[in-house]
Amino acid sequence: MASISFSLASSSANKSKFTPRLGQLTFRHGQSPSQTLDTPGFLATTSRGVVSHLSRDHLHNTASVQWIHVPFESFLENKPPVLTRSTGPNPAHSFLGFSTEKHLVSLSVRDPSDCAEIPPNGKDFVSARCVQGVRKVTVQDWKSYAAACKPDIIFAMSDTMISAPPYSQKRITKSIERSCAWLLDILAPVSSAPPNVFVHLAGGSSVPARQTFSRTLTEKVYGKEAELVHPLECLDDGVSGYVFDLAPMRAQIGASDPYAQGKRTGEAVIELIQASLDPLPDNKIRLANSAATPHEVLRLTAGVGIDIFDSHWAQKAANIGIGLNFTFPPPSTATAGKRQDLGLNLYNNTYTHDFSTLSGEDSPHCPCLTCSPAPASSFIAHATLDEPTFAGPDFPAPKGFSRAYIHHLLHTHEMSAHTLLVLHNLAVLDQFFTDIRRMLGGGDEQQFHRAAESFCQYYDEDLAVFQEATIMWDMVDKARGKGRLMRDKPDDV
């Protein structure tokens, strides 16, 4: 487990609660050197504990990934969950192959992007999903999993309403009460509680309910509760960060078009988040899961000062063959007519003969392993005589992979396509946040707001290029068979 601290830049402190802010997260595992993560920044999401398409060596060579979030539910298919069998000072890190030198690992019960129908939660359990179906996770289960896995950050269980609205007042009240009770349970007793607990700010799509939940966190606890969480004065004292799951929030608000959600719900989401943050102190990390577009990232940075966003949308873009190539601020102010795409749909035949890299020839240098592959730093020698193998003619420095090559890999259903795209998309996202921070650091907040505005004007937020790529991805998938891994029949072994 890492020790973690978060501080806001002096320029960001003492300002209005809902302005964009700069901060720094510092963490350190044991004797490892301490690491800093600048905010606004991002965390990478995982599927079954894996940053999709990245082998461990690739993940370790991806400088942009510092914080990795692991939804626990895929591990529920076995009892006890295999992740809890891992041992050592950082069991989740060691089982999943994350580095204690580089990676901060957080754990939640559920995948925050999954809003599919699921049986309702109970009084003391959350319904979660694994490949074998729905599993109940009780507060006690969650505490024991947290104790066994020792993630750096744990999200308290939350009674998130996933079924379609409207919700009765009674249901909303129950959601708030359960979420509070479950937070208290994970904090008590304080002597054995996980050190870094994040709380999902509950209250659904109701402004008063959100205010109520947040106020409850800051109210002084009395009686039995006070005994349980002694020496905490209030629940919020035991909380290190606030989480907003945008996916269920959008569902609660009622937007149905997945590609318009970011835009359409922008104002409403901001109002709800402000309602939650209003009663709470400013000095804690604010994390938003499942932002759908960089536009939404900018709005949430500008409107409520979110510090950390997940990269789910950019990773998903790599799944469907999109290589991101947007910049912040945009290259120019928008002109009337078609808005620009956020990335390239590499399925498109326009890339068949395009030998430029994903970042393009005239864009700034992209440091990712796709655009700027590094030569192998070492070779495995398999025989005493292998040394001459590694010398030989002067090997040219590796060149960036071309759009034509990635296009070819996509159409031939080769897994490497997605590896190359994930590596690149994470680097583009990293650059995006670097540019956001640089602009905020310039001291002219209005400049940031203007740039964000022109970004939203310049780039298409309806994600037409994503829709087009999804259709082509689907066509290749059908033509080629059952998906990347199971295309051929298994061997008879």
Partner: protein, 423 residues
């Protein structure tokens, strides 16, 4: 090509050679991973290179369809297209044509097939195959041969064998006139089916053309024939092939097959098996293959092989983690592909060291006793190695020997049909 024999086993026909091509040195014997579509499944060329792999294979048939020759020419060849800096071999495209295309007719001119794009009749001639391989730019290119299944019998086998010789002549003529011999090296493919006389005839004819070819492949095998026939054919070929040319056994990838072939004098082999089987959750080890889909691995926190220098085992990726992710996450396939390629490279690298130190027979014995933990050796391996002076069951009486010999592929495998596999 510069080809140099560095060491010979004093017992078997195994040898260590240094093959220098336009993209560096490859030490032989070696196993060549297959990058059918110009990518080793899920890996980047840098990763493959760092595994100590210096020679991979691309499939001509596939690359000709996609991305197509225009793209490859514009890219400056397949090396540049896929970012592979080391040696590359391409097949002729003939084998895939026959096995993947339903309507192939072989005439003296070439292989006639219906285009996968528009169904129009298309001809792959020996000249066309070489021309395509020139555009791809591999360091080693293969002649177009007249492929028949190794289970075919009758006059068709003789026809195919003799035609392959005539097509070799056409490939030589075309390749010689291209002026590309300094960078691309043509290999002949010995045919002749499973008939020793036909094999001899084909061998003799092809060896006559030795001055115009850089190496020899042994074709027409690995198509489901009896293993006992397989090794005898390999042995017959390696006995008669010229010493100063590399020998390539096509489509061989199981560890025991590789080591027997090396003992019989084979220098190179290729197979999709180690990368393909990785995608289905199988890890190759010196103690047999592990099927990581099996429930028994679900709680095993140890790596596949603690001795293994691959990037997967080196960071202690556990069997339990692989069990959790295989067939769900591409990253699990990457992890196993990295491991399996290193296993193949270790198997062959350790053979090179053993030959160099003239202890190859001992290496064979150690390998077989570790790989077949139940002590039961495939009969054909015992016989094949016996033919070159290595008795795997040395010192055992007749009765004891019989108890240690079995038919079939042998042990060392965890079967997926195990009822726990899908649990």
């Amino acid at each position: 090509m510069h080809f140099e024999i560095i060491a010979r086993c004093s017992t078997t026909r195994a040898r260590v050679c240094k093959m220098t091509l336009a993209h560096g040195v490859t030490m032989l014997p070696t196993f060549m991973p297959v990058a059918t579509q110009a990518a080793i499944k899920g890996l980047t060329p840098t990763q493959v290179e760092s595994l100590g792999i210096t020679l991979i294979l691309n499939n001509t048939y596939h690359l000709n369809l996609r991305p197509g020759l225009d793209v490859l020419r514009q890219a400056g060849g397949a090396h540049a297209f896929q970012g592979w800096r080391r040696n590359l071999l391409t097949d002729s495209g003939g084998f895939q044509l026959v096995s993947l295309s339903k309507f192939t007719t072989i005439t003296e001119e070439g292989a006639l097939f219906s285009s996968p794009f528009d169904g129009s009749p298309t001809m792959l001639t020996p000249e066309e195959s070489i021309s395509i391989q020139h555009a791809i730019g591999a360091d080693i290119i293969m002649q177009l041969d007249d492929v028949v299944s190794s289970l075919t019998t009758g006059p068709r086998v003789a026809e195919a064998s003799r035609r392959s010789v005539r097509w070799l002549d056409r490939c030589i003529t075309f390749h010689t006139s291209s002026g590309k011999q300094d960078r691309q090296n043509l290999f002949a493919i010995v045919q002749g089916g499973l008939d020793p006389d036909l094999r001899d005839e084909c061998l003799e004819e092809m060896v006559k053309r030795k001055d115009h070819v850089a190496g020899f492949a042994i074709g027409g095998l690995s198509g489901g024939e009896e293993k006992d026939v397989f090794w005898r054919m390999i042995s017959q070929c390696t006995a008669k092939l010229p010493d100063d040319r590399p020998r390539y056994s096509m489509g061989i990838g199981f560890a025991e097959d590789l080591l027997v072939c090396v003992a019989l004098g084979v220098d190179m082999a290729d197979c999709v098996f180690p990368t393909r089987t990785a995608r289905f959750g199988v890890a190759l080890t010196f103690e047999g293959a592990l099927n990581l889909r099996l429930k028994k691995h679900a709680t095993d926190l140890g790596p596949i092989d603690p001795q293994c220098p691959c990037p997967t085992c080196q960071v202690n990726t556990s069997r339990a983690f692989l069990h959790h992710t295989v067939t769900h996450e591409t990253a699990a396939a990457h992890a196993l592909t990295l491991h399996n390629l290193v296993f193949q490279a270790r198997l062959m690298g350790q053979a090179r060291t053993a030959i160099l130190e003239d202890r190859f027979p001992a290496y064979l014995k150690t390998f077989f006793s570790g790989y077949y933990k139940n002590g039961q050796y495939p009969e054909w391996c015992v016989n094949a190695l016996g033919s070159v002076g290595v008795d795997l069951l040395e010192g055992l009486s007749g009765e004891e020997r019989n108890g240690r010999i079995q038919g079939g592929r042998g042990a060392g495998w965890e079967y997926a049909s195990d009822s726990a596999a899908d649990a």
